[in-house]
């Protein structure tokens, strides 16, 4: 029983990073009705860029690395927007989708080339802290990952629901033509969406690096798949759905890893996806039917 609770809590804490990745997919889909398949790869890329701080200032604190990853993620988000959605006609859905696949592979190749394919160590905070309650333990670095991720989500929700930019973003996602006629520049809002999801992605990548202890180019593909699964389980376009689904998938895979081993666990995650697609295709919080 203790094993179960232990692996579940570890998984849920780590699942916060999946939730961030899922939010990135879901927000772009919600606003533009497009999939940005390069998102997880760009997030890992942002995390790698965070390491540049250590190259310039050896011994820089982990927070500086995280912050640099955050900014680099936002910049990469903008580059992805320009490359895949600005200069490629957005009215051609297949062209933009394939452009993001190309971007995924490109980011991957750049990482492999720059690091010779070797994993790099990633700094963490509180990795020597261990909270104990009897046999049950909480890793300090995982708690830090969880708290930072939750803060980022709170920031995003505040931005979406408390500011004019958020209002404009929601307006574009619900009714793009009318938004234009309210004087909103749809292209600008789309670009902002990519920058914001990119910032979140940079943090997500850094948090994954911090909790695993290393970054490797091998991360991008499984992370893309997990992010998409989280997006589908949460319901395409639903941010609360992505948050809950991220934690759910994190906990689920951790428990199955405990009982069935690391090579078998992803099999069950895929099965979970199919269970959702069959029984609840609209996701956890299937959106209410509006009249528009």
């Amino acid at each position: 029983m203790l094993d179960f609770i232990q692996s579940l809590s570890d998984g849920v804490l780590f699942g916060a990073t999946y939730a961030l990745i899922g939010i990135g997919f879901t927000l772009v889909f919600g606003v533009m009705h497009k999939l940005n398949l390069s998102y997880a790869a760009a997030s890992v890329g942002g995390a790698y860029c965070g390491l540049l701080v250590l190259k310039v200032f050896a011994g820089a604190p982990p927070l500086a690395v995280f912050f640099c990853a955050f900014l680099a993620g936002g910049l990469l988000g903008y580059i992805v927007y320009l490359a895949c959605f600005h200069f490629i006609p957005i009215s051609n859905p297949l062209a933009t989708l394939m452009a993001t696949v190309g971007m995924l592979l490109l980011v991957d190749e750049v990482i492999v080339h720059q690091t010779d394919g070797m994993p790099l160590n990633y700094p963490a905070l509180f990795d020597d802290v261990m909270l104990r309650a009897g046999e049950f333990t909480l890793r300090g670095d995982l708690l830090m990952v969880f708290v930072v991720s939750i803060l980022c989500m709170a920031g995003l929700l505040a931005l979406l629901y408390r500011t004019r930019l958020g209002l404009a973003t929601r307006a574009v996602s619900q009714q793009a033509v009318a938004a234009q006629l309210c004087g909103i520049r749809v292209g600008q809002v789309n670009a902002m969406t990519f920058v914001i999801t990119g910032l979140l992605g940079g943090i997500a990548g850094a948090m994954i690096g911090a909790s695993v202890g290393t970054l490797s180019p091998l991360l991008t593909t499984p992370l893309t798949i997990k992010g998409l699964i989280v997006t589908v389980i949460g319901g395409l376009g639903s941010i609360p759905g992505a948050i809950v689904a991220g934690l759910l998938v994190g906990g689920f895979e951790s428990v199955l890893q405990q009982y069935r081993g690391v090579t078998e666990r992803d099999l069950y995650v895929m099965l979970l996806l199919f269970v959702f697609l069959v029984f609840r295709p609209g996701g956890l919080f299937a959106p209410k039917e509006g009249r528009d």
């Binding site: 929601r170 006629l181 004087g183 509006g290 528009d292």
Partner: protein, 250 residues
């Protein structure tokens, strides 16, 4: 001097001439009616004026400015607003927020820098929103999601949202569709008030009791071409108009 001028405007979709060599002049302060049978090009004309698709030929001049190069969101900022035949509200925003979104005119933003423009909250919201909600009879519904409003309320909210952009010209695309006689009477009052506040109105409408009672001047379209123009009385007496509407042989 004309507020809006369409000079031999055409829009072809493949072989279909949705609008074909249309000339229109709308003077400031007018309530101008645009009528015609289904498929005669009325909605296309409104879409062309708002820039939702480009002209095949001709030009549109608003306040001495050629609109051709202007993307839709900037046309709004020059003072053109519209409502849609099929209502396009932001369904998951409240009635109040639907109007807040529309406050994007240069005057709203001139004083604000990037951060207060994008990251600012509800401060600096004009009182106008509550006045417009009052005007539309929606004050008691302001916190309701637009998707949950009744059909008539949604139509009124869409009109209020167009007014929130402070237009000089408002294009109403079949605002009376699906309304009962009482609601049409209220709409008529609202259109007259809008004009009284100095906004010019282009009214595209099927409901004749509204068009004939409220407009100063009417143009009649058929198959994308203007077949008549004049005061309501003149247009009603026009033989070509009667034929277009009632059909019938030579």
């Amino acid at each position: 001097m004309a507020l809006l001028e369409l000079k031999s405007v055409s829009r072809h979709f493949g072989g279909v001439r949705a609008v074909d060599g249309l000339d229109l002049v709308i003077e400031p302060g007018q309530i101008f009616g645009l009528i015609g049978p289904n498929g005669s090009g009325k909605s296309t004309t409104v879409n062309l004026i708002t820039g939702l698709f480009p002209l095949t030929s001709g030009s549109i001049v608003f306040q001495n400015e050629d609109l051709e190069k202007l993307p839709t969101h900037l046309r709004l900022q020059t003072g053109i607003a519209r409502t849609f035949q099929n209502i396009r509200l932001f369904g998951q925003l409240t009635a109040w927020q639907n109007l807040w979104v529309a406050q994007n005119s240069p005057a709203d933003w001139a004083k604000r820098g990037f951060f207060s423009r994008w990251l600012g909250g509800q401060s600096g919201v004009r009182e106008e929103i509550s006045q417009l909600l009052e005007f539309s009879g929606l004050a008691h519904r302001q916190d309701e999601l637009a998707a949950n409003l009744a059909f008539g309320e949604q139509r009124r909210l869409e009109l209020a949202r167009a007014l929130a952009t402070r237009p000089k010209l408002i294009l109403l695309d079949e605002p009376a569709a699906g309304m009962n006689t009482e609601e049409i009477g209220q709409l008529r009052e609202r259109i007259l008030k809008i004009r009284a506040q100095g906004t010019t109105v282009l009214l595209v409408e099927h409901v004749m009791e509204l068009v004939m009672g409220v407009t100063d001047r009417i143009a009649v379209l058929n198959f994308g071409q203007k077949i008549a123009e004049g005061t309501p009385v003149e247009v009603q007496a026009d033989a070509a108009v009667r034929k277009a509407y009632l059909g019938g042989g030579e």
